[in-house]
Amino acid sequence: MKTPAHSETPTNRPDEAEVVLAARNVAKSYGAVHALKGVNFDVHRGQVTTLFGENGAGKSTLMKILSGVQQPTSGELLLEGKPVTFSSTVDARDRGISIIHQELSLAPNMNVRDNIFMGREIMGVTGVDFAEEERQARALMEELEEDIDPLTRVEDLRLGQQQIVEIARALSVKSRILIMDEPTSALSASEVEVLFGVIRDLKERGVSIVYISHHLEEALTITDHAVVLRDGEMTAYAPRNEIDLEWIVRNMVGENFDLGSPPEGHAFGAPALQLENLSVPANSGIGNAVEQLNLTVKAGEIVCIYGLMGAGRTEMMECVAGRTEATGGRILLHGEDISGLTIAQRIEAGLVLVPEDRQRDGLVQTMSVGRNLSLASIGNFTRGLLTSRRDEREIIDRSIREVTVKTDGPDAPIGSLSGGNQQKVVIGKMLATSPSVVLLDEPSRGIDIGAKAEVFRILADHARDGMAVVYSTSEVGECLAIAHRIIVMRRGQIAAEFTHDTTKEAIMAASGESLVA
């Protein structure tokens, strides 16, 4: 669906509120990957503009450009009507644009006052003028109507209060434009109310807000304008009073590129992977990320796990693969309990994980393409004490062919490959161990649509040969690609289960995406 973006572009829709910051035809490419393809975007004085879009739609890239983290490849930014370029975040901040990241950038060991004035300490004759800083910090807190003592250490504050400190810091540099990236993702419902109160207050004082959120309905309650991005293009733009939830979802998801369909014509085999009442501790150490989860995947079946960030998908997969220990329940592989086995033993038994973050967990950047591909199957080409170069070469060549890696050769550095090809290397590495169960955590993250389709084709082919495939995604369109069954996870539990013939809206609703947290 290619609605001509121009019919609704801001340039053709003059709004009554004054435009403080505008992006015109902003494009950003990373090598051959076009993250943004000519986006127009307006920020109105004293209003909230929300950016909607799936992961990889280009939201974060646009934010980085607006806040000076990166420069656009082409196009321009207009601040109060005048073209500007931001050389750095400090430059952008000096011109009144601040960004509050999803991961807060506070020093938890320091107090609120020191955090607010970090890097811009007020100097008196005898060094830092703490009294003046404290007075200003108190004034800011009063303005925000928050009862936070400036001398409290940040780590002693609740997450919502920490967010307020970030906002106070942005206000202390007289920010006129505040970019908030997923500010509510870690907040409780009451904290969200407090935050929204602060946002309304900021609007009255003429501060413009750029807001990003996955909680669509929540965002709709606060926003004045909606901008929808998809695959690096702006697909729709409208003021709040003309839109509803359904409009956003339709423009966000669109009609996706064909990512394939579930492989048919083969019967499922015996249960390959069974999770019984599985509980997995959260990374923070408090509570469980996965609670009493039950799931059975048969040989030859493809199961998609959909859920928001923090739904427990990654924790569940890492536990099944053996990286973390379960706090309860059992994991059965072909009917045998595998808890207690090491990762290497699970790989030997036929269970492998393709991790979510390929840079951090998937690739060894110091090794070549070939050595990355053969890393998990060293045992298969070791003869006695020494490795056999010929056998290794055979395994590598077969993998390169099988997962269609585009490379100069096995000796090319892994960093020379595109993101999609790197992802194929990680998948190929695990497939080279001839697994019977494959878990893939967000296999399509950060790769282009063509590579996505190929990854899914590889998985479908293997499922036809009897491999059990479990993949997770946070892009709803990908659930409907090759999965026979779609499991929606929410807060560590299975919220709903669908077959292939469901709709995107039903899946999103079950994930809690459109509900207030």
């Binding site: 990762i343 390929r358 967990d361 060894v364 090794m367 890393l375 960093g415 790197q422």
Partner: protein
């Protein structure tokens, strides 16, 4: 994430362009070219430098540092550091001397004089034990490598001083009547004119080279040093690899300790002080990355020879030993600077 991925894809091939090939070659083979330059310079300055006998003598010196550096390289490949090797060298030398003096078992009222081969085995065992302690502390108790091995630097040195009361074992020659002669063989004898120390270094280097390039362990080491999380998820026993490298480093230090005490026919408790720094320098000059995952046996040997030949050359042409220190320091800094130029462009945020 797509951002980091694709930027690295952009920058990496730059080094492969043909226009850069000469610079690239010089950069890749810098330790080799440095060695050539050092030999050429000193041959020009002193007629005694470029003689076979001098090369063999210098190589015998290099053997000590080379052995330490090989062990150190394994640790550095893993992304760690082993500060204890100098002390372990001293401790194992003293331990070997202690065994050679005879072990008195008071309850039985006898003094045992173990044969030289048993002394060698036990000494290497002691080095392995110190390495094992380091490795277990680092891998399982999560003590930072710098701190754990700094601790064993002190402990090993202290134990060596305690064992001798600060004195030196001078009688390492053994006695024919006790059937424990031959300790001096390691340090003094020559095989086909080549000092045994150099041959030991060559054997250890060949074994290390084979292990690194042709065994599963070698692959595990490179991968866990390059990206421990990825290696772990690929089934690499990262903890065992981590412990092993410290054990191997300890064993290398023990071998070096044996060779040195044999060369000196005495075992002093202060032998090998600050040698760990020379070993680290050799590894770094040899092009290994202190972040782990990059480094070769060949490079490390070259690094050891560069440092050894440089300081011996300065001695031969009569430069003050204070200047030697200055030169060595400059070479190390230069090497690390070139390292960052070589690897800097490809670094991916960790």
């Amino acid at each position: 994430m797509s951002e980091t991925t694709t930027t690295s894809a952009e920058t990496a091939p730059a080094g492969k362009k043909s226009g850069f090939s000469i610079v690239h070659l010089l950069l890749e083979g810098r330790a080799f070219f440095a060695l050539i330059a050092i030999i050429a310079t000193f041959s020009f300055l002193s007629p005694n430098y470029a003689t076979v006998s001098n090369f063999l003598i210098m190589s015998n010196h290099v053997a000590i540092f080379g052995l330490l550096a090989l062990g150190m390289m394994l640790v550095i490949l893993n992304g760690g550091i082993d500060l204890s090797v100098g002390s372990v060298l001293g401790l194992t030398g003293v331990f070997a001397g202690f065994l050679m003096q005879g072990v008195e078992i008071q309850s039985a009222g006898v003094i045992l004089y173990p044969p030289v081969w048993a002394v060698v085995v036990m000494t290497i065992g002691l080095g392995a034990f110190v390495g094992l302690c380091n490795g277990v502390l680092i891998a399982y108790f999560r003590v930072p490598a710098f701190v754990a091995t700094l601790g064993s630097l002190y402990v090993a040195r202290g134990v060596a001083l305690l064992m001798t009361n600060g004195l030196t074992f001078n009688n390492l020659r053994g006695d024919v009547s006790l059937d424990n002669t031959g300790f001096g063989w390691l340090g003094f004898n020559r095989l086909f004119g080549v000092p045994i120390g150099v041959i030991v270094l060559a054997i250890v280097a060949i074994v290390a080279g084979l292990v690194l390039s042709r065994t599963a362990f070698g692959r595990w080491l490179y991968s866990s040093g390059g990206n421990e999380r990825a290696a772990e998820l690929s089934g690499v026993p990262v903890k065992r690899v981590q412990v092993s490298v410290y054990v191997l480093s300890g064993m290398c230090a023990a071998i070096a300790g044996l060779v040195l005490s044999s060369q000196l026919t005495s075992a002093g408790p202060t032998a090998g002080t600050t040698y760990e720094l020379t070993a680290i320098a050799a590894v770094v000059v040899g092009g290994a990355s202190l972040m782990g995952g990059r480094g070769t046996v060949r490079g490390t040997l070259l690094g050891a020879f560069v440092i050894g030949f440089l300081s011996d050359g300065l001695v031969i042409i009569g430069v003050s030993s204070y200047w030697q220190t200055v030169f060595t320091g400059a070479v190390i800094v230069l090497a690390v600077m070139l390292n960052s130029i070589q690897y800097g462009g490809r670094r991916i945020g960790r």
